[in-house]
């Protein structure tokens, strides 16, 4: 498989088909896992070798779905760009969607750049139905699916991949990918090293793999978007419980949701408490003394110290006071973050503040 950047793919595709592919590679986020984009590989042509390029009109599209990557062949004809494409669904040779369920195919509009992307989304939706139908091979897994479906918060954000029956062991496996309904909107500012990088949507995905139809081997995994993971203190900060033996998803998923929610609340509360403390500290020591937020995570274990010269006003009334400057960064809403001082004292202009770093020693025990 030759990985190619979107620009390379766009360069090699036939000019008439370029708009269609552009929307796929640039805006192609389908499914629950929006962090992974659609990828294009194996660009080929259906024209003769004497046809001058670029004339590629068929390629392989990689689609993330339920923890798997679907590899579908999409076949155009560069000599007839107005015609709709054809598809080869890779290993899923038995997947045959009903054309009437694909309106963007029936009413194909080559002039609409979003037409192909929309058609792919419709196909994925049909594929999801196809996988759910395959769950009928296992009553246990079908029960899991039906129970989740009853809850709209889980049923509407669910992807299922039913694996093939193992011809040797007769085992049937499946994977459930759920988007957890957890609110991450109040998580503090996430400071990125690379400000140009879009952290993307904050999402938590729970993947539960059933290695056998009787649910004796179940392996759950929690996937967090980079911003959430960073905000919660890294991958080691949060551990989800193991799937209970004999348990079911309808009991386990809410448990994980609650755990995640509690952790988020904990982080938020810790952030607010630190803010209150710093505000109180500032008000106590006046404008000379200051605190500075530690750069990075809201880990409450990081010590905060006040340099001696800044303690002078309390100790030595004649000491100079160095004004505080907030750290530079980007808030979750994309705005430059304001320093605590600016927030508490709006009269202080942001432009005069320089980036600086001061450690304030706090009693960790008060925030633990």
């Amino acid at each position: 498989m030759n990985n190619m950047s979107p620009e390379v793919a766009l360069h090699r595709i036939s000019p008439e088909l370029r708009p269609l592919l552009c929307s796929v590679v640039r805006n192609g986020r389908v499914g629950l896992d929006s962090t992974n984009c659609l990828r294009v590989t194996d660009l080929k042509t259906g024209c003769t070798s004497l046809t001058p390029g670029p004339c590629c009109d068929r390629f392989k599209l990689h689609i993330p779905y339920a923890g798997e990557t679907l590899k579908w062949d999409i076949i155009f004809n560069a000599q007839y760009p107005e015609l709709p494409p054809d598809f080869i669904f890779g290993e899923d040779a038995e997947f045959l969607p009903e054309p009437s369920e694909l309106p963007h195919l029936v009413h194909w509009d080559a002039g609409n750049p979003e037409c192909l992307l929309q058609l792919v989304k419709e196909l994925i939706q049909q594929y999801h139905h196809y996988q759910c139908q395959r769950l009928h091979e296992s009553s246990r897994l079908l029960f899991e699916y039906d129970s989740l479906l009853e809850d709209p918060s889980y049923g509407r954000n669910l992807e299922i991949y039913a694996g093939r029956k193992n011809t040797w062991t007769g085992e049937f496996s499946a994977r459930f990918l759920l988007k957890l309904p957890v609110d991450f909107s109040n998580i503090p500012v996430y400071l990125l090293k690379d400000t140009a990088l879009d952290p993307g949507e904050d999402v938590a995905l729970l993947s539960v793999s059933f290695e056998d139809a009787e649910a004796t081997q179940v392996f759950p995994k929690l996937y967090l978007s980079p911003s959430i993971e960073h905000a919660l203190g890294g991958s080691s900060a949060l551990h989800i419980p193991a799937f209970p033996s004999g348990g079911c998803l309808i009991d386990y998923v809410p448990q994980v949701c609650q755990l995640l929610t509690n952790k988020v609340q904990y982080v938020i509360q810790g952030y607010h408490k630190r803010r209150e403390y710093i505000a109180a500290f500032l008000s106590h020591f006046g404008t000379g003394s200051s605190t500075v937020l530690s750069q990075g995570s809201a880990n409450s274990h990081l010590p905060v110290c006040v340099p001696l010269h800044q303690q002078r006003p309390t100790l030595f009334s004649s000491a100079d006071i160095v004004p505080l400057q907030p750290p530079l960064g980007r808030q979750r809403d994309g705005q430059k973050s304001k320093g605590i001082l600016q927030e508490l004292h709006p009269s202080v202009s942001g432009g005069s503040l320089h980036q600086w770093k001061t450690l304030i020693f706090l009693l960790a025990s008060s925030w633990m």
Partner: protein
């Protein structure tokens, strides 16, 4: 199920496809026939196997894509009829050509195929997929083709497509019905150099020579077979003669035994009167038996004559021992017979400087005085009885002993007796002691009776 396509049809489809600057499709025309193969094997009398063969005779390319179906893949029967016209009944499948794609039926192809199967009324409609696979630098192009026969359960079921004379001709018979080479240069060269390899009939010379060798070998084999047959027949005839002679011998022996028994019965009633007649009859019997007695194979190429043996024995004899004739030799008897003395162990010194174990065919008794060897015959009777036997007089016991002897041996013993009559008289006991083991075959005949 199998499929076959003619070479020119296959090449025509490839030609149309290769010259198309996009995907290309069309219909396959042909016929479906059934082949029944009857095989006979040792395990069963016969077994028949039915095979459905799809024969592709021609193809009908479509002018453009989507000519008989819409974007959703729905087939229009009107468009179908306008394309096929009267060839609709000959449709046995359809084909598609697409470059640089997988050899797998696509989404739209499966939908179209399902509808064509219903509209055309061909349940075994086949789908032929061509694809050109080219390398990145376009240096190598591979034409791949797969024939699908989709069904309800499997849409990727494939069947074998054979093209006559396209394949490994080493393993298959090359079809002679192929189009000959019409090149003038080729014909000229063959004509010029063909005489070296072909004869006037157009057959290769080597082949004719090989056939000649084969024929000669066959003739030789036939001749050898005849000779073997003749020799077998001769051998069979000789075998028959031998069997007849054996039967005659057995008959004569039976007759002889009968006569002898009668004579004995007669002689018992008048023994004196019958002495001479007995002697004569004995002699006659001897004479009668002598010619017909089978010769025993000799143990040595030149067995020593009896006189030689006697001369050897003279050296072993004591001076006081009167010589006795061979006629006075004790009658041989088997070990364990009532009159048979206790055999003396080997190595026993009998006082004559001799030891036993020389294969002496005589019964021996313990000798107390070497100077007076025992002249017994082993049955308890005295040597007088031997004399009487030599003279033709026989006792009853002797007669019984005679009857105990084997018939074939009786004549040989009589021969010895007759021979002994002409030899010098030697002491029987001395002879018994000094007789060497390397005797004539007659002595060996009594080996079973030796101790």
């Amino acid at each position: 199920m199998a499929a076959s396509i003619s070479g020119y049809t296959f090449s025509s489809v490839c030609y149309h496809s290769a010259n198309s600057n996009s995907d290309h499709e069309g219909f396959l025309l042909g016929d479906v026939r059934q082949e029944e193969t009857v095989s006979i094997s040792d395990t069963q009398i016969s077994s028949s196997e039915l095979l459905q063969v799809v024969e592709i005779h021609n193809h009908d390319p479509c002018a453009q894509l989507f000519s008989f179906y819409d974007y959703a893949g729905k087939v229009s029967e009107e468009s179908l009829n306008s394309i096929l016209k009267d060839r609709r009944k000959n449709v046995i499948g359809w084909y598609r050509f697409r470059r640089n794609t997988q050899q797998q039926m696509s989404f739209r192809e499966q939908i179209i195929h399902k509808q064509l199967t219903q509209l055309l009324g061909v349940p075994d409609l086949v789908f032929l997929l061509f694809s050109f696979i080219s390398t990145a630098n376009s240096s190598t192009h591979a034409l791949e083709y797969v024939l699908f026969k989709p069904n309800r359960s499997r849409y990727n079921q494939r069947i074998t497509l054979t093209i006559p004379n396209l394949g490994n001709t080493n393993q298959q018979e090359y079809k002679t019905s192929s189009v000959p080479n019409t090149s003038l240069n080729y014909t000229k060269v063959i004509k010029e150099h063909g005489a070296e390899f072909f004869d006037k009939d157009g057959v290769m010379k080597d082949i004719r020579t090989i056939f000649q060798v084969y024929s000669a070998l066959q003739d030789k084999v036939q001749a050898v077979c005849g000779e073997v047959e003749q020799s077998e027949r001769i051998k069979e005839k000789i075998q028959e003669d031998v069997n007849k002679l054996k039967q005659q011998i057995a008959l004569r022996k039976r007759v002889t035994a009968e006569e002898e028994r009668r004579r004995r019965e007669n002689s018992q009633s008048t023994p004196e009167e019958n002495t001479e007649p007995c002697e004569a009859s004995l002699l006659s019997r001897i004479n009668f038996d002598a010619p017909s007695a089978p010769e025993r194979p000799s143990t040595s190429p030149n067995p020593p004559s009896y006189t030689d043996l006697l001369s050897q024995d003279d050296n072993l004899l004591s001076s006081s021992s009167p010589p006795t004739s061979a006629a006075l030799l004790p009658r041989p008897q088997a070990v364990g017979s009532p009159g048979h003395p206790t055999p003396v162990p080997l190595g026993t010194d009998l006082g004559l400087g001799l030891r036993l174990g020389m294969g002496v065919n005589a019964s021996l008794n313990p000798v107390s005085t070497p100077s007076t060897p025992y002249l017994g015959n082993g049955d308890g009777s005295s040597s007088d009885s031997l004399d009487r036997q030599a003279a033709g007089q026989e006792d009853d016991e002797d007669e019984e002993d005679d009857e105990d002897d084997e018939d074939e041996d009786s004549s040989e013993y009589e021969n010895l007796v007759s021979e002994g009559a002409h030899l010098s008289m030697v002491s029987a006991g001395v002879l018994a002691q000094g007789r060497p083991a390397a005797l004539s075959p007659d002595g060996d005949a009594r080996g079973s009776q030796m101790t």
